[in-house]
Amino acid sequence: MTTPVLFDIPGPRARARIRIGTGIGILLILGILAVVLVRLAGNGQLEAQRWAVLFDARTGVPQTLGRALVNTLQVAAVGMVVATLLGLLLAVGRLSDHRPVRWLVGTYIEFFRAIPLLVVIFALYFVLPKYDIELSAFQALAGGLILYNSAVLAEIFRAGILSIDKGQREAAFGIGMRKYQVMSLVLLPQATRRMLPVLIAQLVVLLKDSSLGFIIGYFELLRGARSLVEFFSLSFGNQYTFQLYVAAGLIYIVINVLLSQLANLVERRTRRRPTTAGTQAMELPADVQMGQGGGAAASPR
């Protein structure tokens, strides 16, 4: 909503009211913040040394969180790249002229969207070995992320391909291109560019979901933080628990907010391009953004 249509531009009196309201609001928020800080301090949670542990290289905390973050990023990156490629193929398959192909791909998509990702990862790691297929924790986690996200992305790609102006397709056929040429040379390149912001947004979901990996012992960010908490509990009780989880939470938020910003930036860029003067920017459906919980504790322990 660029120009407000639901309300008039506030006049001087309304602006004054808003200013007063804002002032009260800010005071209220500052008040709550003060109470929080005072109580945290009262419980010793603000002691400098408790926070210093996050940066104290001698404890290995920064290194461990760093390594765990790299693991998280790695599995998310691999998962994203493969899921995107597979998703593209599936989307093309779903738009195929051949009924069996359409049906097969449709079943795949519905199936993997319906069952919890956790169950997929679990099955890849524990059930496949019964059939002599052994996957490492990394492979099982990446595999689960790929299967689920390719199904989600296929649907988004399909919408993207369908959103390309009909004229493009007709013109391409008109100059004598074959079906696969129309798809690969005309429709997909345009659709992909339009999808770029959505793909980046999906990466946020993947990053959150990669924390499901701890059920199969993959050392990702949340597992890393928990491991540190448990390790310190041997000598220091729960002195550092709050700080470590705050750190892990902040790392997720910072990275994901940066990614979201990137997605917004790319969206504005692509929208400016005349070649993609599409109808509407694509958006990631809200339920997809929710992810699969990320770090579900539903593991059979």
Partner: protein, 298 residues
Amino acid sequence: MRTTRYAASLAALGLMLAACGGSEAGNQAEDAADSNVEVQEEVDFEAGTTMAELAEAGSMTVGTKFDQPGFGLLNPNTETPEGFDVEIAKLIAAELGIAPEDIEWTETVSANREPFLQNGQVDMVVATYTINDARKELIDFAGPYYEAGQDIMVAAGNPEGIEGPEDLAGKNVCSVEGSTPAQNIRDNYPEATLTLFDVYSKCADALANGQVDAVTTDNVILTGLVAGSDGAFELVGNPFTEEPYGIGVPKGDDEFRAFINDTLEEAYESGAWADAWDRTAGAISGQEAPEPPAVDRY
């Protein structure tokens, strides 16, 4: 841009914190006592046995817990587990001519120990693994190598006056979902209110916050939590079950099982077993090594 600036100032603050005194954890950081198992140089096993295969391969995969202080706890800095279970596994590996660094550690949680063994994803499981008949249907056990018992941990001073499981009636007691101790409370002390998390560290947090009145599980695990609590928790010290810990091997591999039992008995004799205890669980709890249990060659 703004985010970058925030991040930079945050990092600067961190460096400042680290510079002025650092953290208590950092000041106390010291290397864990190195294990001093002697790896057999010359090993000779009958061809076709599991031992021959493992010795030939020069490496093995061991399943253990990564979240049990004193028994199997992941050291996040080295990304390898440490504890009594880990030392026992190293002793067995050494007899096969496998050095500690050639052991691949796999995290096992309560529910995947049997599938891991059945699928052959691990060669053996040393993971605070209580021997019982239901499990013997699926796998076999060497050992026991330790006798634990379920106990109760409470806040310092025992404000609720909990002396045994009978006193848990009407109290909020914490354990881990899917653990044998939790099932025991459910079956035998139904008056207690169970609060179940997925890991014990959360139970410790809940007890510290006063969200629960007590934590119950095997005494050895509680000892680790008490040791770290800096006097905030105490152990009731009245074990009310017997939990013989065994080493899980694939069903029917009797030669391997016998070999592990022999190795355990040797370790009892040579003092390696007691030494392993002193460096791990014993170092945490300050308790002397107990009398090792007799292995059960069923």
